[in-house]
Symmetry: C2
Subunit: 438 residues, 2 copies
């Protein structure tokens, strides 16, 4: 256990390049076999696992290894040797020094077959599985590929405030915050501020950040706090420009993920990531209704898409085109926020769209109404008080170009990408009406 | 004003490649000269400005241009011609069609010499200046360069919750949120959760996101909501590993900014961005005190650094080394949060550091205490109740490697980088105890 000159840490994945050398590896104790004459430990780091061996004796090292507990954080120096019989890559490390940096209590609070709720409660342990490590490797690659696309297209990154003096989306519930003698609200989306950035001449903006919805939902796709991916674009002609942008953006990001993690995703989740081909199928709500009726199904809502209609139309389009993605456009005005622009020739329809992936809504977007008078009249038509909206409405008084954008749920994308059953399987932590910790 | 086949929009900066062609440009009305026989308009987009000309007649176009107001959003199609006398690049556009997409009210609510408060109040207008456009171009490049560094070094991106059941930093004030019959608090930093990610085996993580401090501060460097850049790293030997990481990271990001925006920054802000050389100067608090005393100044606080000492030591080091950056390390335990690790041989000192840029604190970092028993005892020593901290303390019960990290203020970096007098000059929007809108 004494330390002479210690080599630099090596990732376990990189060990095959170091056979015959003295190496240092660090990670968690994955398994322990303390036999009569030999001690075997499997050590796992973020990228792999390796077997450690020690011939027992009356030494400090033997005593240290015999005190090991599963999941303890361990740093080891030893000789890396070829061991054709070892299952983990045909190599093993003959331990010379071992340091238990963080001893794990026993028993561990969760096992592989624990419930999702238990795994969320003990996230510092459940995160360690190779599947969960892959989730965040994929998340990192996905977001970086999105940003590379945006940067190449001249988008600017913004960070909009989450504390607001008013609601950002009418209809949804907002969390109130005590703010120096007044009440602030948590932003339900960066909607208002990305529009302000557009009015402010930034032309193309993006943000990835938290959004908050004070809704008593307990579904597999809703959280009270979630990561929202937002972009907004000036000088568009219609919402079709936005759909054309989003499909290129998503296809790029998914192609990068497939290239970098495709084999691992298939190995751990059994999913074959195939980047979607362009263009994605697109249907107006009216065309979707007609297609459903032709297939013998009468939509429950004759104007809007109810969830059963969404599921069925996704199946129909998948059957006809083989495509997992589907844009539905031109929703009735009544089903969308007041600030969505209306079709000039069909004022009952909003220039809006949703994107579905395997029947799951992953995006809501629209061209926005940028003309002050028209926007005020659309707010009044809903019966909204103008005063609380004035700070937002002012964005459009001093020259604002036509524009639109969309919001995309990060966890929903990951859920579909990795075949998860819930956004909670692919988020760092969960926030629901009954969960605020850890 | 009739529209035949309209060409695709061209960025004004790209116009020199289109001389002799019919072009479409979109932007804001920067200036108007409505003369007896000619109408001149300067149109400005995100990247440049160009002159538009029209020979007056009894036509709709003449009437449209005569109704223009400053800062209106305008889309124009016309013939791009060489005009050696024109100041803006020796080109101008002979207008064929003009569409006022968003007419600006008059008068505008702010002018170039308006106060910062007025500019914050009307951010959708003040953002349009070339200086402000550059701020966000630089922000975008800076963050992307940071992320490229992290990705190349194997860091994973996380999004930690901003709603917490307890405070994330003791000492600082937290905003309370009404949360389904209980009280949540807004995260003062992602501190606890980046440590959870480390305990969860992610080894290297980063996050750029909002942080909230309910403090009645009205200084040029404090906001109640700000963008925090955070990273955390496992398997370190000491806080010196963190300083070595940060200086490489910052030098890389600043070199990318200098390369891409150096000329523009000099033009608009008079600042010559020189990427800092490595290593940055580093002093312990004790060494800084000694240096101050040798220079004839007795620090007011004999253990910690007060702000006057910080300013003076930055000047001294700048004078001696020419370096604008300075790490100060090894603060007294009493001046740091309870979770900072202590020096084994000097338990009154924390393994902590701050980074100063031109005397402004831009980073706080430390190795964290990862041993459960020691952490509990450090919390108890401060007189903290353990129950509210238990969810955090649990992160360290099931094996956690040695680790540490830092938090960096994005707006403070931009403030120094662009020579701004306040973080509010380089943030999208401001949040102070008295400002919640726009």
């Amino acid at each position: 256990m004494t330390s002479e000159q210690s080599p630099a840490r090596v990732s376990i994945k990189a060990l095959p390049d170091f056979v015959g050398q003295r190496v240092k590896v660090c990670g968690y104790v994955d398994a322990i076999r303390d036999q009569k004459r030999m001690q075997f430990v499997v050590l796992r780091d973020r990228d792999g696992a390796v077997q450690l061996v020690h011939t027992k004796g009356d030494d400090a090292l033997t005593r240290a290894l015999s005190e090991l507990t599963p999941e303890s954080a361990l740093s080891v120096v030893g000789q890396l040797v070829s061991a054709p019989a070892a299952k983990l890559g045909g190599i093993e490390i003959v331990v010379e020094e071992a340091r238990i940096c963080g001893r794990a209590e026993t028993p561990l609070p969760i096992a592989i077959d624990s419930s999702l709720e238990m795994k969320l409660e003990h996230r510092q342990v459940s995160l360690r599985s190779p599947q969960q490590q892959l989730v965040f490797a994929v998340q990192t690659t996905l977001e970086h590929a999105m940003r590379e696309f945006w940067i190449a297209e001249g988008f600017r990154e913004i960070h909009s405030p989450k504390l607001m003096s008013t609601f950002s989306e009418s209809g949804a519930e907002a969390f109130p915050v005590k703010y120096f003698g007044t009440t602030a609200y948590l932003a339900q989306s960066p909607q208002f501020y990305k529009q302000m950035a557009i009015a402010g001449g930034m032309e193309k903006v993006f943000e990835i950040g938290p959004a908050f919805r004070a809704e008593r939902s307990f579904t597999s796709r809703h959280e009270t706090e979630f990561t929202s991916i937002d972009m907004e674009l000036a000088w568009i002609d219609s919402h079709h420009d936005l759909m054309a942008l989003e499909e290129r953006w998503l296809a790029h990001a998914l192609a990068v993920v497939a290239g970098r993690h495709g084999a691992d995703i298939f190995h751990h989740f059994g999913i074959d990531v195939v980047p979607p081909r362009l263009p994605f199928p697109k249907l107006s709500v009216a065309a979707a209704h007609e297609m459903l009726r032709s297939a013998g199904y009468a939509p429950g809502d004759t104007q809007d898409m109810d969830s059963e209609s969404e599921r069925r139309i996704a199946d129909l389009v998948k059957g006809e085109t083989g495509h997992d993605f589907l844009f539905i456009a031109d929703y009735p005005v009544s089903a969308r926020p007041f600030y969505h622009m209306r079709h000039a020739d069909r004022p009952e329809l909003a220039r809006s769209f949703d994107l579905f992936w395997g029947g799951l809504e992953v995006t809501t977007g629209a061209q926005r109404e940028h003309r002050y008078d028209q926007l005020v009249s659309q707010a009044e038509e809903r019966g909204y008080a103008i005063a609380p909206l004035q700070s937002y409405l002012n964005f459009f008084r001093y020259g604002c170009p036509p524009h639109g954008g969309m919001g995309v749920g990060l966890a929903r994308l990951l859920m579909r990408l990795l075949g998860a059953r819930s956004v909670r399987e692919v988020a760092l932590l969960s926030r629901t009406p009954t969960r605020l910790s850890p």
